[in-house]
Symmetry: C2
Subunit: 383 residues, 2 copies
DNA sequence: GAACTTTGTTTGGCCGTCGACCTAAGTCGG
DNA sequence: CCGACTTAGGTCGACGGCCAAACAAAGTTC
C-alpha cells in the first residue's frame, strides 16, 4: 500500500522560491531544468492555491517583460509557542517568520499538558480572530518546551521540571485539536534557531547560549540543529569551572557553572529573588551586580573556550535575561585572550538581538521548514 | 543549459538495497511504490552493470520462488588513503568497506602533495594489480589528511604541519591522475567514521578521541560528521585542564590538555622519543608509564565531561596509539563519577576495535557513500 | 512604425510508468 | 504422481507528464 505518487512537480518548483528571491518563469525553468511550458503550468498551480503570487511587474531587456513570482508570506500561517517554566508565549507567524501577533500567558508548566495546551489553543484562536484570519490558514505548530524532547516523536523525555509531561504526545494533540502537524523541541534549541534566522541567516555554525535562571546551549552545526543522542545536547549547567573549587551545586557536585554563573546563583549572591531582578539591578547601574555579572561572564567564557574548540562555531550568541553588556564583556575577556588557538580567536561573539522573541521565531521556523518541505507542500496542494 | 534529466530511476531503487538486506523484486516494488513491471526493468539494468546481483535463490511460500537481489560488494572498488604526519596508509576497499589490500608507506607529509600523491597513485596501482583488478573498477577516492580541510572544496586549509599542502586541490588531482572523484577530510574525522562504521553502525552520535602524539576529536552527531565553521571542530588539544596550572604548552598558554596528556607530553616525561615508545613501555608493564597514562586518562576524562555535556553523544570511543587499558580506566574513573548529570552517566565508553585501520575504513566509507548516492549511481550507470 | 527580442501559451508527440494479462515455477492435498 | 493453487516474472496496450516547436503577446530599439 503506497501513495499514488506525487500528482505533479509543483512542490519541487516551490523549493526554488524558498530563498525569497522573486523569479520569472524563464529563470525557474532554467533552475529546475524544466521546459518553460511545464513551469507555466506549475506556477499557475501554485498561484491558484495562493502560495505564490506575481510581484514586480516588468524589467524588460528588449523583449516582452516577464512577471516575477515569489512566495506570498501571508498565504498561510504558523502557530509558534515558547513554553518556559512559568509562562508561555503564543505567536502567529507568517511564512517569512514575521511575528504577526504575540501573547504571553503566565501559567506554570507544571500545571500539566492538558491545562497548558488548552490555554495555547484558546490563545491561538483569539490571536487568529484579532488578525481576521481563519483557523484553516494555519499549516503547522512549532513548540518549545523547557526540557529534553525526543525529537523524532515530539515527546518530552523524563523532563525534570515538567511534571505530567513525560511522554505526552504533543503532535497527536495538535492534530486532534488544531488539525495541523506539530514540531516539538527544547526551548534553548528553538531560541538558537530563532536567533540564527534573524541575526545570522548565512552562518551554518552557531552556538547559542541561554543565560537566565539556568544556563543552556543550543547548537546549530552544518546548518542543522544538533540534539544529541537523548535530546540533551547543550546541557552546560554542570560543567566544572576553575573558580568553583569548594562551591557546592544543587546537583551534588562541586564547581558547576550553574552554581557560580547562572541567574539563580547570582540572585542568591546578590540577595534578590530571580534572574530578572539581577538584570534590573544591572540595568540600574548597581556596581556590585555589574561586577558579579562580569565575573559570571568570565566563568562562562572559560567553559565556552572548550566548547568553541570542540565544535568550532563561526559565532557564539549570548541570549535571554542576562545577556547584558557586563556579561558579554566578561566572556569576551576570556574568549579573546591573545594566546589562544586559531578556532577560538576567529570565533564571533554577539549578544542576542531577538530578545524574548527568539523562542517563538525559532519554533515557527522549525515548523515552517517542515511544512514547506517538498512533502509538506505536496500535502498542502492536495488538501 | 541543464542535464537532460535522469535517464531512469534505477539509482533510487539502488538506494533501497544500501542497507545490505537482499530483497525480491516484489519487496522492492512495495518499498519503492513502483509497479512490479517497472522494478523488473530497473533491476535488470542494475544487474546489467554488475552493481547488483541475484543472491539466495528461493524461499517459496507456496508459489514460484523469488530471486533475492543485493548489491555486489565486489562490483566496484574504493581507494582509501590515511595520511599521517610521517606515513601514509593506502588501501583498496570493496563496497562493504572491507579492506581488500593495504600498504603502509613511510614518507613525511611535509614532502608535499606532488611527491606524496604520486606515491599514493603508484601504490594504488600496485595493490590493484596484486588483486587482479582493473583501475577502471575504482569509483572513488577517500583521503584523510593531518590538518584542517575545507570539506566543500577538498582543500587543506592553512595546515600547521603540512607545508606545501595549503589550498592544494586534491579532488582535481584525483580526477586528472585516476579519473575518479575524491573526498578529502581531516584524519581524525575519517577515523571517527571508520570506527563508527565497524563498531557502532546503529549509533548516530559518537565522539571519537584520537590520542597519539597529539589529541583530537572527531564528532558524529545525528549520523553526520560535524566539521565546524572552518573544519577545525574537535581541536581538543588546547583546552585547559585543572591539573595544568603552571605547565606551559608549546602554544603559549598554560595548562593545555596536550601539554599534560598527549603522547608527546608523556614521552617527554618518561624520557622516550615517541608516543609509540610510551605504548611499548605500557605494554611491557612499566609501572611508571602505566601510572602516567592513567593520569593522562583522568585529565582527558575531565575534558570529556564537558564535551559529553555539550554534544550528548551515545558513546565515546578512544582510539589510536595510546588507547590502552590504563588510559581507558583513567577516563572511566572521571567520566563515571557517581555524582554526575544524566547525559554523562548514560554515555558509553569504549576503546577502538579497528586499530590502525580506522582511518582507511572511514575514508573509504565517506567516499563510498558519496559515490553510491543517488547522483553517484546515476553517473555510474551513464558511463 | 518596422524589426527585433523575450515572454507566455498552445499543441502534438515522446517516453516512462502502470496495470492487466499471461507464463513460469514452485507448494500442497488427494 | 498429478492437478489445483499460489506467487514471481515478463509482455503489452493505455495513460499521463513533460518536452520542443510553433505561435501569440508585449515590450525595446532604431
Amino acid at each position: 500500500m503506497t501513495l499514488p505518487a506525487p500528482p505533479s512537480g509543483a512542490s519541487e518548483l516551490f523549493q526554488l522560491l524558498r530563498d525569497g528571491v522573486p523569479r520569472t518563469r524563464a529563470e525557474l525553468a532554467e533552475l529546475a531544468g524544466l521546459a518553460r511550458s511545464t513551469v507555466g503550468l506549475r506556477v499557475d498551480e501554485l498561484v491558484g492555491v495562493g502560495l505564490v503570487r506575481p510581484v514586480g511587474d516588468a524589467v524588460s531587456s528588449g523583449g516582452r517583460p516577464a512577471y516575477r513570482f515569489a512566495i506570498d508570506p501571508g498565504a498561510r500561517l504558523i502557530l509558534a509557542v515558547d513554553c518556559g517554566a512559568r509562562h508561555q508565549r503564543v505567536a502567529v507567524l507568517d511564512l517569512d517568520a514575521n511575528v504577526l501577533a504575540l501573547e504571553m500567558h503566565v501559567r506554570p508548566i507544571a500545571d500539566g499538558p492538558d491545562a497548558v495546551l488548552e490555554d495555547v489553543a484558546a490563545t491561538a484562536r483569539a490571536l487568529l480572530s484579532s488578525l481576521g484570519r481563519a483557523e484553516s490558514d494555519l499549516i503547522a505548530l512549532g513548540i518549545g518546551l523547557p526540557g529534553p524532547v525526543e525529537h523524532a516523536t515530539g515527546r518530552p523525555l523524563q523532563p525534570p521540571i515538567m511534571p505530567g509531561w513525560d511522554g505526552f504526545d504533543v503532535p497527536a494533540w495538535s492534530m486532534r485539536e488544531l488539525g495541523i502537524p506539530a514540531l516539538v523541541d527544547n526551548d534553548v534549541n528553538i531560541m538558537a534557531v530563532g536567533e540564527r534566522t534573524v541575526a545570522l541567516p548565512d552562518t551554518d555554525d552557531v552556538l547559542f547560549i541561554k543565560i537566565a535562571t539556568g544556563i543552556g546551549a543550543g547548537i546549530v552545526s552544518g546548518g542543522r540543529l544538533q540534539r544529541g543522542a537523548r535530546g540533551t545536547a547543550g546541557d552546560l549547567g554542570h560543567v566544572r569551572v576553575a573558580r568553583g573549587t569548594g562551591v557546592r551545586c544543587s546537583c551534588g557536585k562541586e564547581g558547576c557553572l550553574e552554581a557560580l554563573a547562572s541567574g539563580g546563583a547570582l540572585a542568591r549572591a546578590l540577595g534578590v529573588a530571580t534572574a530578572e531582578d539581577v538584570a534590573t539591578l544591572v540595568g540600574s547601574g548597581d556596581a556590585r551586580a555589574t561586577a558579579a555579572l562580569q565575573q559570571a561572564g568570565r566563568d562562562l567564557g572559560e567553559v565556552l573556550l572548550s566548547c568553541v574548540s570542540l565544535i568550532n562555531p563561526a559565532t557564539v550568541v549570548l541570549g535571554s535575561t542576562l545577556a547584558l553588556p557586563p556579561l558579554v564583556d566578561g566572556v569576551r575577556a576570556v574568549l579573546y585572550d591573545p594566546a589562544l588557538p586559531e578556532a577560538a580567536r576567529q570565533v564571533g561573539l554577539e549578544a542576542s538581538v531577538t530578545g524574548d522573541r527568539a523562542g517563538v521565531i525559532g519554533a515557527g521556523v522549525l515548523a515552517r521548514d517542515e511544512a514547506l518541505s517538498t512533502d509538506g507542500v505536496t500535502a498542502l496542494l492536495a488538501r
